[in-house]
Symmetry: C2
């Protein structure tokens, strides 16, 4: 019997509902597998915790997480209780940085039975590899002067190490998929970091002469995800550009509530973290309307990472059987609740046993 220790951080808002859903699905997966145990430890960290303790997570929170095989996160943020930059930098971004989760991998395709808002979604199937540790998301900078003279300076910091790591991962992935790599740039407007990014992209590309490449400015690339998403395979992007492209990916998949992601520590030094692309959606929290698919698909990516790719695939197939039957939450045109969709996924999984 193989035991996996999973640190679960439901977080805020619908994070709690979708976490509970995904845990049910994972337990069902363990049952049908027979040889694995998922040992969940739930941590009540997040905005409510902040209100009580003045911190999003305990001082030694990162140390605690390092004891686990993986971290499974719901969603963080409740701007009514804590300003977003405090809640995110105190938890989600803190975990990404301190566990050195330098890559954020986010696939996008349309699941069976789900309507894309696009006329002809043309069977797109791409993966965004997002640099996850630096770049535009930076605490360097500040505000000077007061009144009419006030000026904010925001420093983006791009190291060769992190840039090259993300780009190299994208090329390895493309080689495995037999696909091409598109680089998101904006070197026509942003004249230091983006030409630097382009230069490293071209260097790494030279090592993979059989992988087709393209650099596209982020404005045009965003538009292409709407007009011709089927032309992309692997897209590599900076932290901010990857953030934008993957929400767009969620939109064309039919709902941001479906999109999954893996925050990887590529060296395996610390546990990797798995969280859906969507946020905590405080406006619909507690109403049973949250789409569990993003968190469940994320669970499937976590199983791939844990060396259980067949079990991961079974979960995703079960999801598609359920959506294919029209059992869906309201955000994707259905009338089912979070619990109903979850129960249907579990029963589809059991039928595979």
């Amino acid at each position: 019997m193989k035991n996996f220790r999973i640190a679960c951080l439901p977080g805020d808002g619908i994070g709690l509902e979708v976490m509970s859903a995904a845990q049910d699905v994972l337990q069902t997966a363990a049952e049908i597998h027979g040889g694995v145990v998922f040992d969940f430890t739930n941590f009540p960290w997040g905005s409510d915790y902040y209100v009580e303790n003045g911190l999003m997570m305990p001082e030694d929170g990162i140390r605690q997480l390092k004891e686990f095989d993986t971290v499974f996160l719901g969603a963080v943020g409740n701007p009514k209780l804590v300003p977003d930059h405090i809640s995110l930098w105190g938890m989600l971004i803190k975990i990404r940085r301190e566990l050195e989760l330098s890559l954020n991998v986010r696939p996008a395709r349309v699941l069976r039975g789900i309507d894309s808002p696009l006329h002809s979604p043309n069977d797109f199937n791409f993966i965004v590899v997002r640099e996850n540790s630096e770049g535009e998301y930076s605490e360097a900078g500040g505000v000077i002067h007061n009144g009419p003279d006030e000026i904010a300076v925001q420093n983006g910091i791009f190291t060769r190490k992190a840039t090259e790591r993300a780009i190299r991962y994208a090329f390895k992935l493309a080689k495995k998929r037999g696909s091409k790599v598109t680089s998101a740039t904006k070197s026509n407007g942003i004249v230091h970091s983006m030409p630097f990014w382009d230069r490293i992209f071209n260097e790494v590309a030279a090592e993979y002469p059989d992988v087709e490449t393209r650099s596209v400015h982020i404005d045009a690339l965003s538009a292409f995800l709407v007009t011709k998403p089927e032309t992309f395979d692997v897209i590599v992007a900076s932290n901010l550009f990857g953030d934008i492209l993957t929400d767009l990916g969620g939109a064309i998949m039919g709902s941001i509530g479906i999109a999954p992601s893996a925050n990887l520590n590529p060296e395996g030094k610390y546990p990797s973290m798995f969280e859906p692309v969507h946020g905590s959606a405080p406006d619909i929290a507690g109403q049973g309307k949250a789409n569990p698919l993003g968190q469940v698909w994320t669970a499937s990516m976590m199983l791939d990472h844990l060396g259980l790719p067949e079990l991961g695939a079974a979960i995703l197939e079960a999801c598609e059987e359920v959506t294919g039957e029209g059992i869906k939450t309201p955000d994707i045109g259905g009338t089912s609740s979070t619990e109903e969709v979850t129960a249907a996924i579990c029963s589809a999984l059991r039928k595979k046993a």
Copy 2:
């Protein structure tokens, strides 16, 4: 007879074709009006000029442009001849900055007879007000160290003056349209410039208590332009975010080749500049395939600015008559050439005389 002196910069690639198209339409508009003359002066500046002269435009180019009532620009950039950051900072961005064109105003809606790639485009009609003089597009920063230690630092600089100016313009516009204002932010990830932006947005909003407001993170906002574009009226955004949102706007309008823009000098100290959202598209240049609608719609915005709103409206109506009849370039599913579409617009205009 009122004479308008217009500096025309066709630029590169399809810029030449769409400029010539829009000049034809403007001359036709002058004919039917009877009381105005458009006096075009063409400047051959751009990437070819760079190859000959080592500069995108002459040293005293900006001084020359200041003599005109408006500047009308096609598209700049030909990466085969000049790296993008050199061509753009040597011409388009240089003109924006040195003529103090601090606002970039870009409307988005679907013209009659044009298919949006969205299933149910739901009659959206919004305007993006983009800060056009600073922010993420910045020459501040650089690269230090070599080899594995290389680091690029990119400074974004946000002044209260420019930020407030863009936001205030958005509120005035919203008040005129009786609409609401959405602010594009990313203060959860970008912790100096974006909280600063939010703070100024909230301050200005307090002066307009009857204008409804919303702040949305750029990732979610990009997704919403795909899933519910009809919920937006006026969107105010930083330089980079406005760039991304308006290419997305072009995408959901059916083609980036349709979207117009006005680069405004709000004080009227220098001429304003009018250019379509699309680029120079070197891949299709010279083939008669370029969509002239973006440049022609831009001409219509220029006429509004010159105090000829009825003539501007007549041009846009003529465009919709033509697209409504299915006379369209290939990018929007038609089979007509640039010249055919242009001739049809001119003849639709003449019928209005």
